[in-house]
Amino acid sequence: MVDLRELRLPSERQRPGDPRVVGFQPEPSQEHVEQSAAAAIELGNLVTMAQPVSARPLRVRFCHVRLPPRLPFNLYGFNIVNISDNGELIDSLGADEEILYALIVNQPVELQREASIVFLNDLIGRQGPIADVVADRRSLGDLPDLAAAADASSGEISMDTLRFSLEHAADVLKTRAAAAGYRLEIEYRLDPLPRREEVARRVSQLRHLYKLSRRSEGDRRSSEEEVRSCAVGFSSRLRSWGFASS
């Protein structure tokens, strides 16, 4: 009898000393790109839900990008933040906008499927705590702990169900979505931002991020460290305004 816990998922298949998973493509071929696109479309068909009609649609569009330079081999995908026509950030969930998620095409196709399921499970899992807080069933202060517990649970569900089969993982994902009051609508397009307008409207935010990274410029600090220091320097500011951390 096969012990499912012994089965290694694509993200767990690595050779000793090599940070890349087995099957990583440094230069993805056209054939690999086409296989990746076909797999994403197939997965979309598998998890898209026709029912319940009354449920709130949760629209996700997958797309593909090459691994950006300087980023680690264990980056499997990332959310491409929505930006409005006038260059402002949009909260996709709150605005019922489509969520754009870029899969890294260099990864093996099986790993891209795994990453898609993990992302969707995380997304669904996070909706419960948020809904509880919005409906005043839980206090806002509970949100960090609730979100952490939901993330842990979602991760476990993804791993356990994927070890069994992709179809089983998709079924469980759809059941969770329906229970949370959502209906998944998954679409796909190869390029994340194919049109000029889509690229152009992001420029001001990207420049802002670049400037943020340069704000506290030090001679020997890398831009990554600068982004980090800007993003995480908030507590000290709050404290300087008279708020002690509880």
Partner: protein
């Protein structure tokens, strides 16, 4: 400005904005170089370019285009910084919380219930901050820890003054 400055600007635009352009034009017989604002450039078929801020102008055909991250079918590149753009989103949430905190502080002592609510908001801000730090640590560990030291024989002897 030297050509190096134009090229540097183009590369930085490509890295930050996703696309960098240098137009190698002519004013009479004099060559003129200029960088084009990435958000103003439309790519036309046949590797020609149009500057949207100059509607009446002819398409430009001596433009060097450099992409940050190439897409597959689209001629436009995207920024490698897209991965980090969520930091802006989180920063705007934190800024909103900060504004709320400052406004509330100026009103003097708060009723217990409001004080509790404000503390909740601050807990959330701290959790966002922690999560951002963790995600950045996971995302950016590679460049700092995985690069091997430069090999001693990578550069040729006398490379400092380009003699050999």
């Amino acid at each position: 400005m030297g050509i190096r400055q134009f090229m540097n600007q183009c590369m930085r635009d490509a890295d930050v904005c996703g696309n960098g352009y240098v137009d190698f034009g002519f004013l009479g017989l004099d060559p003129t170089l200029r960088c084009l604002k990435p958000e103003d450039v439309e790519i036309l078929p046949g590797e020609r370019y149009r500057l949207l801020s100059e509607q009446a102008s002819r398409p430009l055909d001596r433009v060097m285009h450099h992409c940050g991250l190439e897409q597959f079918d689209s001629p436009y590149g995207i920024s490698p910084w897209e991965v980090l753009l969520y930091v802006n989103q989180r920063q705007s949430i934190l800024d909103g919380i900060g504004k709320l905190a400052r406004t509330t502080l100026t009103r003097g002592p708060l009723p217990v219930e409001q004080q509790q609510r404000l503390e909740d908001v601050i807990r959330v801000a701290e959790a966002i901050e922690r999560d951002t730090r963790d995600r950045l640590d996971r995302l950016l560990w590679f460049p700092r820890t995985r690069l091997r030291p430069v090999r001693g024989d990578l550069y040729f002897a006398g490379h400092e003054d380009m003699k050999t």
